[in-house]
């Protein structure tokens, strides 16, 4: 009965991944979002529940659990309840193919599907249906309009998203996520900067592809500057205007799970996933000393007493510690120095930080600008990038 044990193992893993999503992406993600938003806007963010407001999102979850579920009049109750579940499950399924690291010969991934990135794109496309269904079943004008807007935005950006994924698949010659990381390990460099056969001359193409992918991913998960569907000031809250309590939380969970999954996929495709940056020892110690210098300067000038400067101090201390550890590790000839999941999570959170940063830097786009960007800029640029890189690899520098 080996299939029965596989099913049990899979069920157990589902619980693990779901808990990870609820705790890391939803709770810590929302906390980080609020803290970083506060910091960028020179406020403090959540502060009172728990140390540094760490338990704020836990309290919010408990609050949401006690909230009444209001079902609007004439809503289609079945679809109204199914829509948030569908969005959350689509967010969960993205994570099946995300590898977290590698311990020895064992890759930490739920399943390394042969068609990994295609599967990812397919699951991301399922969210649209949940959103349309939620918007329609609320029987609310704003919700329906928000759902339609959201859907037309998401479908418009699915194509550039797929082109970014395809560019990497083409370079790596495989669709498997683990295979993509291994291809980067083999050539000893991230696809962002270094391509097989082109070496570092391929960097412009890699950066272009990464920008295409990240822009499309931001739009795909409806984040600022592409948050028209949820624009509070125009549409109440878009497709989930009528959702209360835990149903609303499920939509949020699905959205955060997908945003983090996009960041994770970008880290895997362009930043080498779990691979350790392959820098020489002198560079590590230079970086470390620079970080220490920042710390000392902040302490001497007394700027560190300012609550808004303190996050920089903390980051600098952490960065200095990391660089010093890496320096001694590389000196001692250990490879890799740190466990691989550490690198994967660092890269993923760096990209998440980037997403939150964008939110407070750019104003919301207008609908026509948004669609122009997708169809008139990202689509041609993505296709051209794919063709030129392919041309250079097959024709100019044929192996």
């Amino acid at each position: 009965m080996d299939w029965l044990t596989e099913i049990l193992k899979a069920a157990l893993l589902t619980v693990v991944v779901f808990t990870y999503l609820a705790v890391v992406t939803a709770m810590i993600g929302v906390y980080l979002e609020r803290k970083i938003s506060g910091w960028i806007q020179a406020r403090l963010g959540p502060k009172h529940v728990g140390p540094q407001g760490l338990l704020q999102t836990v309290a919010d979850t408990v609050k949401l659990l006690q909230k009444e579920h209001i079902t609007p009049r004439q809503a289609d109750v079945l679809i109204f309840n199914a829509a948030p579940i569908m969005v959350a499950v689509a967010g969960l399924l993205d994570w099946v193919v995300i590898p977290f690291g590698r311990i020895g010969e064992r890759v930490l991934v739920v399943r390394d599907l042969n068609i990994g990135v295609l599967y990812f794109a397919a699951m991301a496309s399922l969210t649209v249906i949940g959103i349309l269904a939620g918007g329609w079943s609320s029987n609310n004008k704003y919700a329906l309009l928000g759902g339609l807007r959201s859907a037309s935005q998401m479908v418009s950006y699915e194509i550039p998203l797929a082109l970014g994924i395809l560019w990497v698949a083409m370079i790596a010659g495989t669709l498997s996520t683990v295979g993509i990381v291994q291809a980067q390990a083999q050539q000893g460099g991230w696809f962002l900067f270094k391509l097989p056969q082109l070496d570092y001359a391929g960097a412009p193409f890699g950066i272009l592809a990464a920008l295409t992918f990240l822009t499309a991913a931001t739009a795909e998960v409806n984040r600022v500057p592409f948050d028209l569907p949820e624009a509070e000031s125009e549409l109440v809250a878009g497709y989930f205007a009528e959702y209360t309590g835990m149903r609303f939380a499920l939509f949020q969970l699905g959205e955060y799970a997908e945003a983090f999954a996009m960041a994770a996929l970008a880290a895997i495709m362009f930043l080498g996933g779990w691979l350790e940056p392959n820098l020489p020892a002198w560079l590590w110690i230079t970086l470390g000393l620079a970080a220490v210098l920042v710390v000392v300067l902040l302490l001497i000038t007394g700027a560190s007493r300012d609550l808004l400067i303190r996050p920089i101090l903390i980051l600098a201390v952490l960065g200095a510690a990391l660089c010093v550890v890496m320096f001694f590790g590389v000196q001692a000839g250990r490879s890799p120095v740190l466990p691989s999941p550490v690198w994967f999570l660092t890269k993923m959170f760096a990209l998440v930080f980037f997403l939150i940063w964008m939110r407070w830097t750019y104003p919301r786009l207008r609908l026509d600008q948004l669609l122009n960007l997708s169809w008139k800029v990202l689509l041609p640029v993505g296709l051209l990038n794919l063709l030129i890189t392919g041309f250079l690899i097959t024709v100019v520098r044929a192996p």
Partner: protein
């Protein structure tokens, strides 16, 4: 045993929502029932080891065609028409035609001696499909893009008429 159980479950996941698709009085529910049907068919492809086709099935059928159908329903007031009669007068006739055709096809299926080949559990992969498209079936491949072009232009012309 496991394979048979999976097959039966997937057949139910495919066929039961398919019945809802053609009988539901609510057109949005019909359209949403397409999704489990398409996902069930995806599962059948997996049992047949056709992994790439399965991925495409989710991407195109569940992710694109269903969205297109939902868009049209919502743009043509179909979403509000739950009390509108959805079936025409041909229900008995249609049911008879469907059952009779089904009977004929089943007769053909069970009467035919299929030329089975003995090769067990093939390993299909994306690369072999890509090679097939770019070598043996290259004409189909290029014609497909023409079909896509024509349908894009045609659909734009039809949908934008009278503007």
């Amino acid at each position: 045993m496991g394979e048979l159980a999976a097959f039966i479950i997937l057949a139910c996941v495919t066929l039961i929502p398919a019945v809802v698709v053609v009988t539901s009085g609510n057109i949005v529910r019909s359209a949403l029932s397409l999704i489990p049907t398409f996902l069930g068919v995806t599962g059948l492809y997996i049992l047949l080891h056709a992994e790439f086709v399965a991925g495409i099935q989710i991407l195109i059928y569940a992710g694109a065609i269903t969205v297109l159908i939902l868009f049209v329903i919502m743009l043509t007031a179909g979403g509000t028409g739950t009390r509108i009669r959805q079936v025409n007068e041909q229900v008995p006739l249609g049911a008879m035609a469907a059952v009779w055709l089904g009977f004929l096809i089943l007769l053909v299926i069970f009467r035919t001696r299929w030329p089975y080949t003995a090769t067990p559990a093939p390993q299909y992969n994306v690369a072999s499909i890509g090679t097939a498209f770019l070598t043996d079936y290259v004409l189909i491949f290029e014609v497909t893009s023409l079909v896509l072009l024509v349908s894009l232009i045609g659909a734009i012309i039809v949908a934008r008429r009278e503007e």
